[in-house]
């Protein structure tokens, strides 16, 4: 069943060119994990921040709705929104070091959501925080609960962030690049932890990432964003075997395959256009290997099959068939 439904979301920087994010729609189903993938600057982080109303002050949502549990989070009262934040929806951020309060013990930060949402007293909340620390695999939880963030490694800090995000048994966790700032070996551990939690707690996860490897390891569905638009929406399997957008297939080709020489690494030519400099037609057209004349006209969102949508007119009309990569 659909848990979160983003519909026609448009985010602008008032006073400048519109369309940092334009007409973005996707769903996250209960207990499933959905990836929001794209290069930096494509609007994926803005999209994820807008769900809980955490956009920077200069940026505005100008159209669309975000339905969660029968409520439109974009039009509900601040009070309703506060009940959702940290309650049924938890969030994990990219840089654990700067995203944790340096003057508060990790125990208090994990306990905070329980005190705010469940009205628990500090003692009870801290006792629960200790269990949560154990649950996310931090040894010596009883002692670590009084530690400050700077006394922990990056991986431990991210575990604390995750523990805080799941403190009130949420239905959905939004994780914004949760492994990007970490060492490669730690990345795998954090992803494994997220996967365990997702399975055990029947969590839905919206994972924002630029890393296709993470998507392949972790996610069920995928939303590919490019330059403020959704390029393609599909299941992860279909993305890897039968991509529906030239950008997706270019991303797949850019991932170094195991066993292949480094020199074969394909890089997409050109640069991501910045907001205000978006092409009028397909936004990927200037960099696309398959572009033709009519790609310069606006491309509608088209249905390719069940749960598979693309913004590429050539693929939608059957004019172009793309090569998949296969998984891993």
């Amino acid at each position: 069943m659909t848990l979160l439904s983003v519909e026609g979301l448009t985010i602008d920087l008032p006073g400048r060119q519109p369309g940092l994010v334009e007409d973005v729609s996707f769903q996250v189903s209960e207990g499933r994990s959905t990836a929001l993938i794209g290069e930096s600057g494509c609007g994926k982080t803005l999209t994820s921040m807008s769900i809980l109303g955490l956009l920077p002050a200069a940026v505005r949502v100008t159209a669309g709705s975000v339905w969660f549990d029968g409520v439109d989070l974009l039009t509900c009262t601040p009070r309703q929104l506060r009940r959702i934040r940290g309650g049924p929806v938890g969030m994990v951020f990219q840089e654990p070091m700067s995203s944790l309060n340096p003057t508060m013990t990790v125990g208090d930060q994990i306990a905070e959501a329980r005190r705010l949402h469940l009205g628990e007293r500090r003692g009870a909340a801290l006792a629960r925080a200790r269990e949560l620390l154990e649950r996310v695999g931090i040894p010596n939880a009883a002692r670590r609960i009084g530690a400050y963030p700077h006394e922990m490694s990056g991986g431990m800090q991210q575990r604390v962030m995750i523990a805080a995000a799941i403190a009130c048994e949420p239905k959905l966790v939004i994780a914004d690049e949760p492994t990007t700032a970490l060492d490669v070996t730690i990345q795998a551990e954090i992803l494994a932890l997220l996967r365990d939690l997702q399975r055990d707690l029947d969590l839905a996860v919206l994972l924002v990432t630029h890393d296709l490897g993470v998507v392949a390891d972790f996610c069920d569905e995928v939303v590919v964003m490019y330059a403020g638009h959704i390029a393609e929406r599909t299941t992860v399997d279909r993305l890897f075997y039968d991509p529906g957008h030239p950008y997706s297939s270019a991303l797949l080709a850019a991932v170094p395959q195991s066993g292949q020489a480094r020199s074969r690494l394909t890089v997409i030519p050109g640069r991501v256009p910045s907001a205000g400099g978006f092409p009028a037609g397909c936004r990927f057209e200037p960099r696309c290997a398959h572009a033709v004349e009519h790609c310069r006209e606006p491309q509608p969102d088209a249905l390719l099959g069940e749960g598979h949508r693309t913004r590429c007119g050539r693929v939608a009309s059957g004019d172009l068939t793309l090569k998949g990569a296969g998984r891993g």
Binding site: L52, L54, P78, R82, R83, I84, R85, G86, G87, G90, M91, F93, E95, S98, S99, L100, N101, P102, T103, M104, E112, A113, L116, H117, Y148, H150, E151, M161, A164
Partner: protein, 315 residues
Amino acid sequence: MSTRMIIRRLGGGLLVLWLVSILTFLLVHLIPGDPAEVIAGENATTADVERIRTQLGLDRPVLAQYVTWLSGVLRGDLGKSLFTDKSVLTSIAEVAPPTLVITVMAIVLAVLVGVSAGIVAGLTQGGRLDRLVSTLATLGIAMPSFWLGLVLVSVFSLTNTWLPATGYADLGEGFGTWLSHVILPSTALGLATAAELARHTRGCVADVLTRPYVRTARARGASGGWLVRRHILRNAAIPVVTVLGLQAGRLLGGAIVIEAVFGISGLGTLAVNAVLQRNYPVIQGYVLLCAVVVVLMNLIVDLAYGWINPKVRTA
């Protein structure tokens, strides 16, 4: 803060005090010409000059003088005033209370007013309140404290006779009497500090608001007073405390003029008279005392800093 760090800070403070003691001691010897003659004045007899020379020990080698003087200082003996028979320590102890009271009151007022104004301004950045606070703070920094004192006296004591214009009353004379004598001088003295603190606090709060951990806290459902108390204030306090430490010395200096405005006979008045009369032992005692107070304040600030900032505590 670890014991090792406290000891290191303490050592640094003692080193500064020792260097100040050398500079203070040298004051007398930096006087152009024969110090004894200059101190005695133009109409002094040879006997007067000799008396001063002996009293200050100026007839002995400089190093020997310093050793004698310093060992006296360490035993709490700052020497005798040149013109009365009182010891310098007694003179200082007699007039210290009013100065300390208005200085401490000034700090309290400055923290209450400055920090809260700064918090409000920082939280309402760009708003009307923020602009008001920033304008007042800019004015407050440019305004000499003693002039504010004069204006306050004009308004509250002369045009209206609500508060006494001059003098100091002991707490023993009743709380109301005491407060009515203390409130104007402390306000005048604390204004510049309040302005400085408001500016600083505003900047720190504004800075903390942009930090990712504030966003994390909001993503957890924190808002309003909870967010401000638990996430913003403590982090913003870290740099503000440092500024407060720097202000303590400044207030001690400012008290010199404020005492003159309000006719309070305190440490500043003692020091100014000592300068006019070239009463060197008193000046030396006063300078040393100020240095001790400043070093102590810095130490307290360091400790407070460690208490607020866990990174320092465990470092």
